[in-house]
Symmetry: C2
Subunit: 419 residues, 2 copies
Amino acid sequence: MSDQTVIVLGADGYLGWPTALHLSRAGYRVIAADNLVRRRWDSECGTSSLVPIKSMPERVRAWQESGGEAIEWRRLDIRDAPALADLIRETRPSAVVHFGEQRSAPFSMIDREHAVMTQVNNVAGTINLLFALRDHAPDCHLVKLGTMGEYGTPNIDIEEGFIDIEHNGRRDTLPFPKQPGSFYHLSKVHDSHNIHFACRVWGLRATDLNQGVVYGCETHESAVHPKLATRFDYDTIWGTVLNRFCVQAALGQALTVYGQGGQTRGFLNISDTIACVRLSVENAPKHGEYRVFNQFTEQFSVRQLAELVSEARAEHGLDTVVEHVPNPRVESEQHYYNAKHQRLLDLGLQPHFLRSTLITSVIETVERHRHRVDVGVLEQPNVDWKLGGTVLWQQRRRRATRNRGGTRPLTPRASHSHG
Amino acid sequence: MSDQTVIVLGADGYLGWPTALHLSRAGYRVIAADNLVRRRWDSECGTSSLVPIKSMPERVRAWQESGGEAIEWRRLDIRDAPALADLIRETRPSAVVHFGEQRSAPFSMIDREHAVMTQVNNVAGTINLLFALRDHAPDCHLVKLGTMGEYGTPNIDIEEGFIDIEHNGRRDTLPFPKQPGSFYHLSKVHDSHNIHFACRVWGLRATDLNQGVVYGCETHESAVHPKLATRFDYDTIWGTVLNRFCVQAALGQALTVYGQGGQTRGFLNISDTIACVRLSVENAPKHGEYRVFNQFTEQFSVRQLAELVSEARAEHGLDTVVEHVPNPRVESEQHYYNAKHQRLLDLGLQPHFLRSTLITSVIETVERHRHRVDVGVLEQPNVDWKLGGTVLWQQRRRRATRNRGGTRPLTPRASHSHG
């Protein structure tokens, strides 16, 4: 058992929870913190995890009953700066893994309230953390989850955080220019600038993991017991694209590709996500260093992913229809994309590449839980990048919330107007 | 009289007020909006304008009594999104000039509360404005005040907002990389990304004025009557460097240069600021365009400015001492600096270059008001970039606030701790 303490912020989430398990297994003393707001947002959106998930106290107990070391569960909102500072001061972590942000692009595009809430929540929460580290744990290594979506789709190769520029006969290494595509992605760009500044000025050290789109539903540790399962989202707000295709395939529905489907992104398996976080924790940067790792293992276009799912189904003699639907987002549907992702490989990452067996296994998981699929959620209109959550979307969302006896929404329910 | 309406947000400020006057004189229907928070921050910091300034209703009345067209005064906080949306919907402006932000780097570095308040105030206020424009005035031209400080001091020429990059045999024009030097400057970078996004996705149009350091105390319009004067700050929180040197010179004090004084920045006369804003308003970009103008006229190092002030004094037979004090900021004191500033010249800007006569005239203004100088404020310790507002600073600030029977501070007075 290491005497090193790692705090995982956002430990109730899709990735936060398996990360907490993985770091616990790796020998760290893990403190799992979360404000549980994601479960409230489910109520607000009328969405829920396809795979049933337990409460944090139940999960932590199940981990110990399965032979794992104790994980300390703390309910904490990082917007509560004094509480966050107390946690850092009391536990003196050697690393903080920061998943504690609103992480859905469509959610951030619903309306003004969601845009502001996303940026204030993410940016102010991270500033609170930076000050807590400066004041109480200046040696601590901040491992922050960013996103490949910070870069957008430039017409040049995407480097890992910084780029050497020669201009008018002079040279410098500068932050890679950012062109994020939603208020959520923008919040991550803001975080990156703030964290970089804190490293330069205060000598903090940080790793910014610019993560690709994650797929998959279980890890080595989460598979130990059903009570350890992590959430699996399949709706248009929280679900990532490959997971949603698997749900559509399991239900015999058409795979819905936005527009031409030429949108190319970096992808990685959920097991690789947690390995990347552990590798980062194990290899801290020096004081004052802000380093960026592009955290993904393969590039695919959305159309290619749909084809891979179709092929995996065909191996079992099943036909799959691919349907192109109007793109609710404002984004290029055909573009150059070549993003570097070498630094985590250099640290020893052993990628799990996407294979039809993985796709089949995810589809099997979906089939085991298909009685839990809410068809209304699958049919929910997309949040439109120009208009926000349309009136229809808002109505369905309200109805879904009422039907679940939903809790009070986090943000005011002012009706959305668009000119 | 033009039938075009321009809203000036932050119209009670150093630059907002003379901009409102200038646009009124130029024939626009001007709506001057402000939440007056700057006057509250003066109370909090124990600072005040050297030149006496009138209340907004008095100023607006004085402008009309001096022959100006009516300026409509509205007390409004842009963090109040419904009120801001109402204003935009009711008045359908052809342009909004947005000075409505917390604009002091040292103020943003006092402590966590000030850092968070600065970023939330500036970023959320601007998002509120973007949504109000999208919903109620999508043709409106947003003229947003940014800062040259967004760029930092890269080792290459600074372009106006965007840079052509050739990389691994491919080319793109991308946002110029940003390395801002305070939580305030960071907030402007966040704004830039958010505004750029709103133009790309919603087709809004915006001009981002990356402004240099402004000096001077009056404009053609503000000089018409003493009641039209704009504020003149000389303290370490709100005062800009050349204005502060003029105050020190007038009082026969040493000019205090931070560190080596090799910090080079772009500077401009207050009269050029308002001309740049007017030129931008007169020449709107097309829909969907986000353009950046570097708004300054000359580059100087801090040391050069001190020498210019000394020379202006020597012309009147006066000796001036230049003193190098420890730099409270974390910044390069010797660096390459060459920033482009062509686009406003192309629109017709006629610069007022810095001459000894201007310096002498500012010093004369200070001398007229020297009975108003608060020596305690001049001696106030600097806000330290690593430690924030030190205990000593906080104590003096509290005392100053008490002595003025100060109003309730905007932010909580939690004592500042540093590790």
